[in-house]
């Protein structure tokens, strides 16, 4: 009898085990009681050139928190409130105003910087923020910088000198940790157009391993999830909008005698301009220069309409161009970084989100659009819907889709049923009939503010992406 009940209990336990434990034995549990995110600008919800509350609430960790039923902290929240705290910064944000699509002083549509700056709204919050992601931070920065350093950029706002991202995450005694790090180890070098500034694979492997080891040691029972890095240069407007040849206002090549005209640049260490090699990436950040004639070969000086441009014949810099050789170096290195991420995560039973695959889908979105409900998205600059006006960071819609990749991976690994977040969170809902809808309603005040921004634009040139890796 005794044996019999024991067998029954054992059978029930085994059955429960078989049902409850997913095939991949993910560490910890999908318990979001104390949910913490570490990462960089993507996890922070960085907008175009600016971190501000309009987009921070769309940061992937904030989206996930809401999908699991955790409210976002308001600026008035106290440390004991059970809410998801973000280092909220008022619009137009820091380190400078956001880049938005607007009307330049010449009347043309152009990226313009919203004048002014925002201010931290929760600087005195009595515990570490739940979203500890700092724009610009590399893996190494997440391990070491505390925000006390003058050069830590927005780290001063997010970390406040209270400890590194990892240390503050552990201080919160987290039940679940979301990690997406490593993009700046690559992107900084991409922005510079220079793979020589990439960390070595050995250094990256050591640092990424150290991040996970520290988290696992500090929060041994917490669930965790990490993501891989993008390898396809066609996935960002920054690196895929401009052709390496003279182009028209639609970014289409201008032909001479049936052939495109290569742009010219000054290769590193050279004093002689050379044609930009076929297959090169010309960074979108060079657009304002090119619009003045920079990069156009000297023979166009006499050819209208180029003759009207003042700087025809001046070469682009090496930093504006990523040559095919450099591209190969980048892609090989990032593939090695991804192998390091996968190995470190697997060794700790941490589920891995295929963010590389997400960016791959974005890269091919001109041929296979990303369809969400009745809407179609692609990687086009400004009009594609996925990216902010710096051509690098996501739009709110892009952030929602990024967050959903994490949710899908969490559901698969932990057997949970967290609903995906809807892009309707990014509806304007300006129709009076639908203004009650869930999502963002543009109040008359905000609308007026937007209009005044467009009407009072003083900056015409889109600023280049940040060249300093510490401040995106």
């Amino acid at each position: 009898m005794r044996n019999n009940s024991f067998a029954r209990i054992a059978a029930v336990v085994l059955l429960a085990f078989a049902v409850a434990v997913p095939s991949f034995a993910a560490r910890g549990a999908a318990d979001f009681t104390r949910f913490v995110a570490i990462g960089d600008s993507i996890s922070a919800g960085f907008g175009a050139g600016s971190l501000n509350e309009r987009h921070q609430v769309f940061s992937p960790p904030a989206i996930i928190a809401q999908q699991v039923g955790i409210a976002l902290c308001t600026p008035a929240a106290s440390a004991t409130d059970n809410c998801f705290a973000l280092p909220l910064i008022s619009f137009p944000g820091l380190p400078r105003g956001e880049i938005v699509l607007g009307v330049s002083s010449t009347g043309a549509l152009a990226p313009v910087v919203v004048p002014g700056a925002g201010a931290p709204e929760m600087a005195g919050f009595g515990r570490p923020y739940n979203n500890l992601a700092v724009p610009g931070f590399t893996v190494g920065a997440a391990l070491t910088l505390t925000g006390a350093e003058a050069f830590s950029g927005l780290g001063q706002v997010v970390l406040r000198g209270l400890g590194s991202e990892i240390d503050q995450a552990i201080k919160l005694n987290p039940t679940f940790v979301m990690v997406w790090l490593g993009a700046n180890d690559v992107l900084g070098s991409v922005s510079l157009g220079d793979p020589s500034t990439l960390p070595s694979t050995a250094a990256f492997t050591q640092q990424y391993g150290a991040v996970l080891a520290k988290l696992v040691a500090g929060a041994p029972n917490a669930g965790m999830v990490v993501g891989t890095l993008p390898t396809d240069f066609r996935s960002l407007p920054l690196t895929s909008t401009l052709p390496p040849v003279v182009f028209d206002s639609n970014f289409q090549p201008v032909l001479a005698g049936g052939n495109p005209i290569p742009l010219i640049f000054l290769p590193a260490g050279s004093t002689t301009p050379a044609p930009v090699p076929t297959g090169s990436v010309v960074l979108l950040s060079a657009l304002p220069k090119i619009q003045t004639g920079v990069g156009m070969p000297p023979q166009l000086k006499a050819v209208p309409p180029f003759s009207a441009l003042p700087n025809v014949g001046t070469p682009l810099t090496d930093a504006d161009v990523i040559t095919p050789t450099e591209l190969t170096t980048f892609q090989t290195r990032v593939a090695e970084f991804n192998a390091a991420i996968t190995a470190a995560a697997s060794a700790n039973n941490i589920p891995i989100v295929d963010i590389k695959g997400f960016y791959d889908r974005i890269a091919s979105s001109f041929t296979t659009p990303i369809i969400v409900g009745p809407f179609s998205f692609n990687r086009a600059f400004a009009t594609g819907g996925l990216f902010a006006m710096d051509g690098t960071h996501f739009s709110d819609i892009g952030y929602i889709l990024f967050a959903n990749e994490y949710i899908k991976a969490i559901n698969a690994a932990y057997g949970t049923h967290i609903p995906l977040a809807s892009i309707t969170k990014a509806f304007q809902n300006n129709d009076p009939d639908t203004a009650k809808a869930v999502g963002i309603t543009m109040t008359p005040e905000v609308a007026a503010q937007m209009i005044s921004i467009f009407n009072s634009v003083t900056t015409t040139a889109p600023p280049p992406p940040a060249r300093r890796r510490s401040v995106h």
Partner: protein, 402 residues
């Protein structure tokens, strides 16, 4: 004498409504809720639903990055389909009848805020028919045959919003409202039926022809401002102009067979099967005179069957009670399930009472119709989720037998 008179009413009613469409698609559920209550058209008088109430809920698909978390509801409307008929014995074995019917109709009017507004806010198909018919019965009363013409008028009204990606604020904005309204258009078709009554049995068949109604109307586009002047200017330049539109709505043929018995004293039992050729509805296409194709939705519906079983019990010479159950297949393949018309297999139950004294007939029926939950199973190109619908039809019919 009373018996004779009743027979005439029955036959005429049968011709008028026996073959009417039942339920699925955009049919009105039943031409004769009492008929359903009794399990079929054959023994029914031509009473009709006096009012229809719908309850509909849309629940977004939690695995869909658009509809996740969304809910939607129909606005509450009370539908009052017009119905009336008159039957006149012509002498000899002939009877003439004329009916005013609502064989089809649809309204899916979603209560805003509504996530599917890009697909449809309000879809409204209005139909009304006039049906003169002639019936002949053998002198023995065992055999009857009849036929008639149906003159059908209809109109279509479709309302939706246009939403666009707005690069100025990174949002998706409502930029315009579309209002498509046709004028009334008409067509004709025919119907016929036979009825055989050996002893205590009745066996019958009926047919109603198919029809295409070709509509023309107007598209009115109303811009919705976003508050961002340069974007609104771009939108204004890109919106289609107001223009004439054309569309064709195919209506199905409906064939029914049924059997009934009065072998048990004071009881009628009936069973019938109805087939509707909904496969005629291949697509919904609206063409604009200026802009070309404005709406093009594959529908690819299937023919459907419905099954009804019912009983009428004569409690005493003046009171009847009726019960019935039904099952009605839906014609929509899963890909065609949309906010425009989210259909589902239906099961229903009815309860009715009848009172007749002298020339007066009063019937009341309560008809509860439950739609099975219908999920798009992630196959929808515009809105994935699950639709839950219930309908409640209340009938009150007053008749006078000349």
């Amino acid at each position: 004498m009373r018996r004779f008179s009743r027979t005439w009413v029955v036959i005429a009613a049968f011709i008028l409504v026996g073959g009417s469409a039942f339920g699925s698609g955009f049919s009105i559920f039943e031409q004769g809720a009492k008929a359903t209550g009794m399990g079929g058209a054959f023994a029914a008088t031509a009473d009709d639903p006096s009012a229809i109430f719908y309850n509909n809920e849309f629940i977004g698909d939690p695995n869909d990055a658009f509809s996740s978390g969304a809910r939607g509801f129909y606005k509450h409307h009370t539908f009052v389909p017009p119905n009336a008929y008159a039957v006149v014995p012509l002498g000899g074995n002939l009877t003439f009848g004329v009916g005013l019917m609502t064989p089809y109709g649809l309204r899916t009017d979603w209560d805003n805020p509504w996530i599917g507004r890009a697909s449809s806010r309000d879809a409204n198909i209005k139909v009304v028919s006039v049906e003169p018919a002639l019936a002949w019965q053998s002198s023995s009363g065992v055999f009857a045959v009849g036929g008639g013409v149906e003159y059908r008028r209809g109109r279509v009204i479709l309302t939706s919003n246009v939403l666009e990606k707005n690069p100025f604020n990174g949002r998706i904005s409502d930029v315009a409202g579309n209002f498509l309204s046709s004028s009334w258009k008409s067509g004709t078709t025919w119907n016929a039926g036979v009825l055989f009554k050996p002893g205590t049995w009745r066996i019958g068949a009926a047919y109603r022809g198919d029809m295409d109604l070709k509509f023309d109307g107007d598209l009115t586009v109303t811009q919705i401002p976003t508050g961002i002047a340069p974007f609104d200017a771009l939108v204004k330049a890109g919106l289609p102009p107001n223009q004439g539109v054309k569309t064709t709505i195919p209506f199905p043929a409906v064939a029914s067979i049924g059997i009934a018995t009065t072998a048990i004293p004071n009881w009628d039992f009936e069973l019938d099967v109805t087939n509707t050729t909904w496969s005629r509805f291949k697509s919904l296409t609206v063409n604009g005179n200026t802009s070309g194709v404005l709406i093009s939705r594959a529908e690819n519906w299937k023919d459907t069957n419905s099954y009804r079983l019912g009983a009428n019990h004569m409690v005493n010479p003046t009171w009847d009670v009726r019960f019935g159950v039904l099952y009605d297949e839906n014609p929509q393949p899963v890909e065609a399930v949309s906010p425009l018309l989210p259909d589902a297999d239906r099961e229903g139950a009815t309860f009715g009472v009848g009172y007749h004294k002298g020339p007066f007939i009063i019937d009341a029926t309560e008809f509860v119709l439950h739609f099975k939950r219908r999920s798009t199973n992630g196959t929808s190109s515009d809105l994935n989720g699950t639709y839950k619908t219930d309908a409640n039809l209340v009938s009150l019919n007053l008749g006078y037998r000349f």
